[in-house]
């Protein structure tokens, strides 16, 4: 099986040139681009990048060093969120910017002067390993706990302006996605928001989760794709998603030999590792693909990346939110909260997932959905991108947090771990009392309430 992810060398420049002519330079994409919004610099805008790309493909001016740092940096600073592709009335495809990005990453960092991630390489290389992330997550919880005791609830805001070294550490800690590990913890937290006290089964703190019916032979078969971040950083959420799927009648299997989808490796310039991971996942899910079992990926980032594997995966993989929206979920109890949903770019722009999460929220009684301004703008997480452009990423996270806080929501939910951590970090600074959770956790809680209240 050939590897479909391109390097810039295999892309057909004439074809790109033709695609580029579709850009009418209208500028309608600008207000959708996070990097333009944050900088006000048109070099950091989709149209600006496309103009530079034109120069790269067909140089018009010998005075311009087309491959100069400034050029490559413009492509490199593109988050790859694809908001511009969705916005463009002329159908200019993201492929063009991707070409620019590839060109940028293919130049050795020292020569091009592009920033390297603000974490040690040894850490970065392990960021797609579940076990390491699990470790990181526990350390993170610990340090955060200590910081909260020492510096108070708003430690993130207080430490934001610390000396360079601490700044990085604080940022990393702040943006590490977390959610309740134990069900009890989650229920307590949401109960607190709703102002109620859910009776735990038998009054026991050892909480018993959703009721999972015996598998109906007719239920859809699901091959579950864990994803490194969800499995390592959000193990509780991951399990709750599997419970929800099972409780909705899915027959779940979890191919054991699966691994990270490879997105991070690609974005950190390690195509070899990425190809290796893809190969492993292809093997792990080969069975599912042949017998028509849907592959459900929990994180929007993973489902998006898996779909890039090729046509078979594009049709075989379903994002968990889409899957849930198409199922007969267990009956939901009432959650009287104002909830804002944050669209991960990998869902909204990468896969056109907009209605499904809202449909899921609308199914929860008593819940009011509030829409933030600029829902299409990236939160600035961008995986490794955020580690390489921490300042810009911080600014975008805060901007997003401010938009979400302005809705008057009691709770924010989303469906991608990167966004979860990034927005949590922004909220810590902008609106520390506004919590954010994975969508799955809220759904699980709502389903649980119903079960609970229906018991004697």
């Amino acid at each position: 099986m050939t590897d479909p992810r391109p390097s810039s060398a295999v892309m057909d420049v004439d074809h790109l040139d033709e695609l580029l002519r579709q850009c009418v330079q209208c500028g309608l994409c600008l207000p959708h681009c996070a990097t333009w919004l944050a900088t006000g610099n048109e070099v950091q805008s989709p149209r600006g990048r496309l103009l530079l790309l034109g120069e790269l493909i067909r140089p018009s001016d010998t005075n311009t060093a087309a491959a100069s740092d400034a050029f490559l940096q413009a492509f490199d600073q593109c988050i790859g969120c694809r908001a511009c592709e969705t916005a463009c009335p002329s159908g200019v495809p993201f492929t063009l910017l991707e070409y620019g990005q590839l060109r940028a990453t293919e130049v050795p960092p020292l020569r091009s002067g592009l920033p390297v991630p603000a974490v040690p390489g040894a850490v970065l290389r392990r960021m797609d390993q579940t076990a390491f992330l699990g470790f990181l997550s526990r350390v993170g919880d610990l340090v955060r706990g200590v910081l909260t005791v020492v510096a108070g609830k708003t430690w993130r805001r207080r430490l934001a302006g610390g000396p360079a070294g601490t700044g990085r550490l604080v940022r990393l800690l702040g943006s590490l996605p977390t959610s309740a590990r134990s069900d009890t913890e989650l229920v307590k937290m949401l109960d607190g928001l709703c102002g109620r006290e859910t009776q735990l089964v038998g009054g026991s703190p050892n909480f018993v989760g959703l009721e999972i019916p015996d598998h109906l032979p007719s239920g859809p078969g699901v091959a579950f794709f864990r994803g490194c971040a969800n499995a390592g950083l959000l193990p509780g959420t991951s399990r709750r998603l599997r419970d929800l799927l099972s409780a909705s009648g899915c027959r779940l299997e979890e191919p054991g030999s699966q691994d990270c989808c490879g997105a991070l490796a690609t974005h950190t310039g390690r195509p070899g590792r990425a190809a290796d991971l893809r190969r492993r996942n292809r093997e792990a899910f080969a069975g599912a693909l042949t017998d028509g079992t849907v592959i459900v990926a929990e994180a929007a980032g993973c489902s998006h990346e898996l779909k890039e594997y090729g046509d078979d995966f594009r049709t075989g993989v379903v994002d968990a939110v889409v899957m849930l929206a198409g199922l007969d979920l267990p009956p939901m109890g009432s959650v009287p909260l104002k909830v804002a949903y944050h669209d991960p770019c990998h869902a909204r722009h990468g896969q056109g997932i907009i209605d499904e999460p809202r449909k899921l929220l609308a199914a929860i009684g008593g819940l009011e959905i509030v829409e933030p301004a600029e829902p299409e703008v990236c939160c600035g997480s961008g995986g490794a991108w955020g580690l390489r452009y921490p300042e810009l990423s911080d600014e975008l996270g805060r901007r997003k947090a401010a938009d979400l806080a302005a809705t008057g929501a009691d709770l924010v939910v989303t469906s991608n771990p990167g966004c979860l951590g990034q927005i949590a970090d922004g909220l810590q600074v902008i609106a520390p009392d506004l919590p954010i959770l994975p969508l799955t956790d809220l759904l699980w809680y709502a389903a649980l309430l119903r079960i609970d209240s229906s018991r004697p």
Partner: protein
């Protein structure tokens, strides 16, 4: 290409860096390449660098420094301009406003907000939405275009049909001149008299100054909106239908159209599922009270069918409506799917000429063998034919440009204008002389020299060369001349306004400027002429439901002090071909020029006038609170026929009269009446009058002793609210008219003074005082030099403050 930045890395750059910091000044190749372009696909060269100031003071210092160094400054909003206005020449400094994005608090009582120029058009409406308000100009680029760019181009949009273009939504501007001075246009309300610098700056494309802050008007979100979509098998019929809609006296808020080629592109882009075997699709929108909207939709549907529509459907809900508008607003961008290049045009013709022009474009298309896709702001007579080509094919390019020029000629032959909203920039420099007269072009160049003597502000734009060979002077009308198909009327300055209005009203139209002058003693002063109306910006206290004459004046013939007759504007509903002398001079008295003739837009006359009198209790404080609430209520009621007004009884201050124009339907005035009763209790008198006979029936007695027939009054130009609302009323209540749209106050007493208020003029028998001295911040030196430009020998009236040397 010589590269200024490498050849000449002067002290200027380090000076700029000192002001802007490292992040505020871009000098790299990437920035200089990107900022060399805008949406027009035109280029002039490579800028020296790009400045992105963080505040207004940085911007001014940057401009001042460039002027001292003799380096051109090109202001840039978002670069969505289609005429190359933001494109810099070699070595110019681009000053981007993208970091000037402060939004002031929304003043919901006065319906205003102050914003910095880098705020995006959409952002203003989003900001105001919590107050139930929005910014009315809605160019299709509104999600991306900046307010500064909208102002500099005087942008229009679909809903400008009802609400007017950007100019009509500006209260005042703060700006930097070429020296970096902090200047003001000095208008507290849009009806202030004097040489109107707002009108001059708006549409001047960054060639006279850089707008640093704008006080914008906001309008109410309508109670109800209905949108019709109609498909026409014949393009002519569709154009005819647009004319018919307005000619029937319907008041749609928008009439937009796309032709088949454009429909195909949009379908391909968005797959709405529209039929593509039709020649045109038209969107017509009505907004206002539900009953009025429903009735209008019904009439409009029938009319569209009568004009040959194959299918008329109504958007079922808000999301369907949003989809329809998306189709229209994204149409332009979708042309990228049709061909790699296109010449975009922005011609505008008198409304009745639209079908004829559409036919001629078909002929031109065939003659030149080109493909054309067109979007129309049909209700405005404004259309954007785009001629497609591939620049790699020289013959195709040549034919495309020839066809475009032919279309522009065709529009001018029909008394149109080369640009309705996109501006001249560099793109239309070669066609502008076909439209402008010699004298007009000379005055425009003269203005540029006054404001920017060194020619550093966006040089090379807007002004064709002096020897370009300009058009002949268009003859002025000899008598009152109605063009019913165009919904315009032209008249010489000495024509009687009363006579004009009477003839217009017989057909159900008028110039809505606050007079129903059926006999000579009524309204704007005895025997008022068309010239007076224009020169003095007369806005009578009686029954003034619309804006002022500035909102309806389209074309002006005037004479300079040294006797040169010139013609400005065109009989079209929007026009940005060169500086807006028409509106700049409107209301400037007879100080700079003498009006000789004018063309106005006609609007439907309201059918009836509701009249209610309510007693006021004796407790003054209670009155104040109630009047405040009434004022607030009235301010929020701006129907398509104009807003209501109230008059506090001039004699005794013991009652208040409210009058509201409306439709002759029980539901229309009923609703206002119900609200008024809630606010003020039972009225002691109530009447519904046919509007065009109101002045016969409404006697002085009915409205408080002076309002209709007195021609002596003082016009006050500060508004309640400025002085903290309630404090104002006890004194003011006794003898004032308060009108909601535009928000004005008149006093019948020539000696009226209120602290903090400023009496603009005193009318007596049609005589008006010359405009008062401008407010601080208005550059008096410019006004003095303008006086010399227009009246070199001082033959015209000269107020004291204009005399003497520059201060």
């Amino acid at each position: 290409m010589p590269d200024p930045i490498r050849e000449n890395p002067t002290a200027l750059l380090s000076g700029l860096r000192e002001i802007l910091g490292d992040k505020g000044l871009l000098t790299d190749d990437a920035a200089r390449l990107v900022y060399a372009r805008d949406a027009s696909h035109l280029t002039l060269g490579r800028p020296l660098a790009v400045a992105l100031p963080h505040d207004e003071s940085q911007l001014r210092r940057v401009v001042g420094l460039c002027r001292a160094a003799g380096v051109p400054v090109v202001c840039r909003g978002t670069g969505t301009g289609l005429s190359g206005g933001a494109v810099p020449g070699n070595g110019a400094l681009v000053v981007g406003t993208s970091r000037l994005t402060d939004l002031g608090p929304v003043d919901s009582l006065q319906r205003r907000v102050r914003v910095q120029p880098g705020v995006l058009n959409d952002g203003v409406s989003r900001h105001a939405s919590a107050s139930g308000l929005h910014f009315a100009p809605d160019p299709s680029s509104q999600s991306a275009a900046s307010i500064g760019g909208n102002i500099a181009e005087n942008a229009g949009g679909p809903h400008c049909l009802r609400h007017g273009v950007t100019l009509q939504h500006l209260v005042s501007l703060e700006w930097s001149d070429a020296d970096g001075r902090a200047l003001d246009t000095g208008r507290a309300v849009s009806v202030e008299r004097g040489l109107d610098l707002v009108s001059l700056l708006c549409g001047s494309e960054g060639t006279l100054g850089l707008v640093t802050s704008a006080d914008l008007k906001l309008v109410d979100n309508p109670a109800d909106v209905a949108t019709l979509l109609a498909f026409f098998p014949d393009l002519d019929d569709a154009a005819g239908a647009a004319v018919g809609l307005l000619g029937e006296g319907l008041a749609p808020v928008a009439v937009e159209m796309v032709d088949q080629a454009m429909l195909l592109a949009v379908e391909e882009a968005f797959g709405f599922g529209f039929p593509t075997d039709v020649a045109a699709a038209m969107i017509t929108e009505f907004a206002g009270q539900s009953e009025a909207v429903a009735e209008d939709c019904e009439r409009a549907s029938a009319l569209l069918r009568r004009h040959g529509a194959r299918e008329v459907r109504q958007a079922a809900d808000e999301s369907e409506r949003a989809e329809l508008w998306k189709c229209r607003k994204k149409a332009f961008g979708a042309v990228g799917r049709l061909a790699p290049n296109y010449v975009s045009m922005d011609v505008v013709v008198p409304l009745g000429e639209l079908p004829g022009l559409v036919r001629e474009i078909q002929v031109i298309k065939a003659r030149h063998g080109v493909e054309i896709a067109t979007t129309f702001h049909a209700g405005d007579g404004n259309l954007h034919p785009g001629v497609h080509y591939d620049e790699r094919d020289p013959d195709q390019s040549r034919r495309a440009h020839a066809a475009a020029d032919a279309i522009i000629r065709a529009a001018l032959d029909r008394d149109g204008s080369v640009t309705g909203e996109h501006g001249v920039g560099i793109e239309k420099l070669h066609v502008l002389p076909w439209q402008l007269g010699d004298e007009t072009a000379r005055l425009q160049r003269g203005i540029k020299e006054i404001f920017d003597p060194q020619d550093i502000l966006n040089p090379g734009k807007v002004h064709p060369p002096a020897d370009a060979g300009f058009a002949a002077l268009k003859p002025a009308p000899a008598g009152i001349d109605f063009h019913w198909a165009n919904l315009t009327v032209s008249a010489p300055a000495d024509a009687s306004l009363a006579q004009l209005q009477q003839s217009a009203m017989e057909r159900g139209f008028w110039i809505p400027v606050g007079t129903i002058a059926l006999d000579e003693g009524v309204g704007l002063g005895r025997g008022t002429t068309v010239g007076n109306l224009v020169a003095e910006l007369l806005t009578g206290p009686a029954l003034c439901p619309g804006g002022t004459v500035r909102d309806y004046l389209l074309e002006l013939w005037a004479e300079t002090g040294d006797g040169h007759l010139f013609h400005a504007g065109a009989p079209v509903f929007k026009n940005v071909a060169g500086y807006d002398l028409v509106h700049m001079l409107c209301g400037s008295g007879r100080v700079w020029a003498q009006p000789r003739a004018a063309t106005f837009q006609l609007r439907p006359v309201p059918e009836c006038l509701g009249y209610w009198r309510f007693p006021l209790p004796s407790d003054e404080l209670q009155d104040v609170a109630r009047l405040d609430r009434l004022a607030e209520y009235l301010a929020g009621r701006d129907g398509s026929l104009g807003g209501p007004m109230m008059i506090v009884d001039a004699q005794s201050a013991r009652s208040v009269v409210v009058m509201a124009p409306g439709r002759n339907r029980p539901w229309d005035l009923d609703r206002i009446e119900k609200d008024l009763v809630n606010l003020l209790g039972k009225p002691t008198e109530q009447i519904a009058l046919p509007f065009n006979r109101a002045s016969e029936i409404l006697t002085d007695e009915l409205i408080g002793g002076w309002a209709l027939n007195s021609s002596d009054w003082t016009f006050l130009s500060r508004l309640p609210g400025d002085e903290g609302g309630s404090n104002f009323w006890p004194a003011a209540m006794r003898r004032l008219i308060w009108q909601s749209t535009p928000r004005l106050v008149w006093s019948p007493d020539p000696t009226t003074t209120f602290p903090g208020w400023h009496a603009d003029r005193f009318c007596s028998e049609g005589l008006v005082l010359p405009p008062c001295a401008p407010a601080p911040g208005v550059p008096r030196d410019f006004l003095k030099r303008m006086k010399i430009l227009f009246d070199p020998s001082g033959a015209l009236e000269t107020p004291r403050w204009l005399e003497g040397q520059d201060d």
